[in-house]
């Protein structure tokens, strides 16, 4: 796959390194000359100096044949504009943008960016999940369908202990995938599975219903 990365900062550099290891063809566009030279020294000639929002630079970078376009600079407006240029001018099938201000995710989505990654939001979530009493751990986002995979732990004195899955008021569209119980082999629950204290439950939910799922599994 041919992938163009805009921004050769920490994120851009390590992403380039990882994608090269996977055998992809790639190009990093970086505004700063010294940074461009650094990347070329470390990874081979995979970086060129240039502004990823300039149409001429994108043309030169072969944006027209890129399979994927990833903008990871520290400036949201640059990430937005370069992804829009890639999408609308060069018809790149998949555009991914880093969003620094979580408030900008809505506008990015509305402007047709395929995937947005809010670094601030990700860091917040990861730290939140380290708080021992945090009810829901995010495992995976399935962005296109607006779904997410989460893990919910049933607390020791939850009002839901002893109830069957059938009796729980699960929000519509939510599915329980797996129950991890002590040393037992994890199993897929059915509607007659009875909840026990300390069960860890992996489920599919949506951002809108995850709170209701937490309540359904942990009681109020």
């Amino acid at each position: 796959m041919y992938i163009i990365i805009i921004g050769g900062g920490q994120v851009g550099y390590y992403l380039a390194k990882a994608l090269l290891d996977e055998g992809h063809e790639l190009l990093v566009l970086e505004k700063d000359a010294a940074r461009t030279a650094f990347i070329c020294n470390e990874l081979g000639s995979v970086a060129i100096r240039g502004d990823g929002c300039e149409m001429a630079t994108l043309e030169e970078a072969g944006a027209g044949r890129a399979d994927m376009f990833v903008a990871v600079t520290g400036d949201d407006e640059d990430n937005l504009v370069s992804c829009q240029a890639a999408k609308h001018k060069f018809n790149v099938p998949r555009t991914v943008a880093r969003v620094n201000n979580p408030k900008n995710e809505t506008i990015f989505k509305k402007m047709g960016i395929d995937v947005t990654i809010s670094s601030t939001q990700k860091i917040l979530e990861s730290i939140e999940e380290e708080v021992p009493t945090h009810p829901i751990t995010h495992l995976l986002d399935i962005q296109e369908q607006g779904l997410e995979m989460v893990e919910v732990k049933v607390p020791p004195h939850a009002t839901t202990i002893g109830k069957t899955v059938k009796e729980l008021r699960l929000p519509a569209g939510n599915t329980l995938l797996l129950v991890i119980r002590g040393q037992q082999k994890p199993f897929a629950p059915d509607e007659d599975t009875v909840l026990e204290a300390e069960d860890e439950i992996v489920a599919i939910t949506t951002p809108e219903t995850e709170e209701a799922l937490g309540t359904a599994l942990r009681g109020s």
């Binding site: 929002c53 300039e54 149409m55 400036d75 407006e77 937005l80 829009q84 240029a85 506008i107 402007m111």
Partner: protein
């Protein structure tokens, strides 16, 4: 008419003054309050320190009631992003964008952002003056 101008440079400051003098309700935004020195001393509008690509700042500036939004900062991308927020999130009826890069102007023009490029306007104008007008 309620107008929000983003960027208080020479053009933004002057435009804000002109519109306010004609009785329009003008709010001008800039990241740096030192820029507001460019406003005329008798400026009757509102000057607000803040980032025009931030929705909360735009709300504070009254974008929900605005009739027009004009982006005049030095950064093309900032202007384009702010205009898209004004147009697509807040449905401001008239949105104008300065884009120095003519190619970017063309692209976002085709995506529905009314945009003009001083680069082409001035170079055409100067060429015209030089070649067609006798002093």
């Amino acid at each position: 008419m309620k107008v929000i101008i983003m960027g208080c440079g020479r053009v933004g400051g002057r435009l804000a003054g002109l519109l306010a003098t004609e009785g329009h309700d003008v709010t001008i935004l800039d990241l740096n309050d030192y820029s507001f020195r460019r406003l005329p001393p008798d400026f009757g509008g509102t000057a607000l320190v803040g980032n025009g690509t931030d929705e909360d700042t735009l709300k504070k500036a009254g974008i929900e009631q605005a009739d027009a939004f004009i982006a005049l900062t030095q950064g093309d991308n900032r202007n384009i992003m702010a205009c898209q927020i004004a147009k697509h999130i807040f449905n401001v009826p008239r949105v104008l964008c300065r884009t120095y890069d003519p190619l970017r102007r063309d692209l976002f023009g085709s995506l529905g952002i009314e945009s003009f490029s001083p680069t082409t306007i001035f170079s055409d104008m100067i060429k015209e003056k030089l070649l067609k007008e006798k002093p």
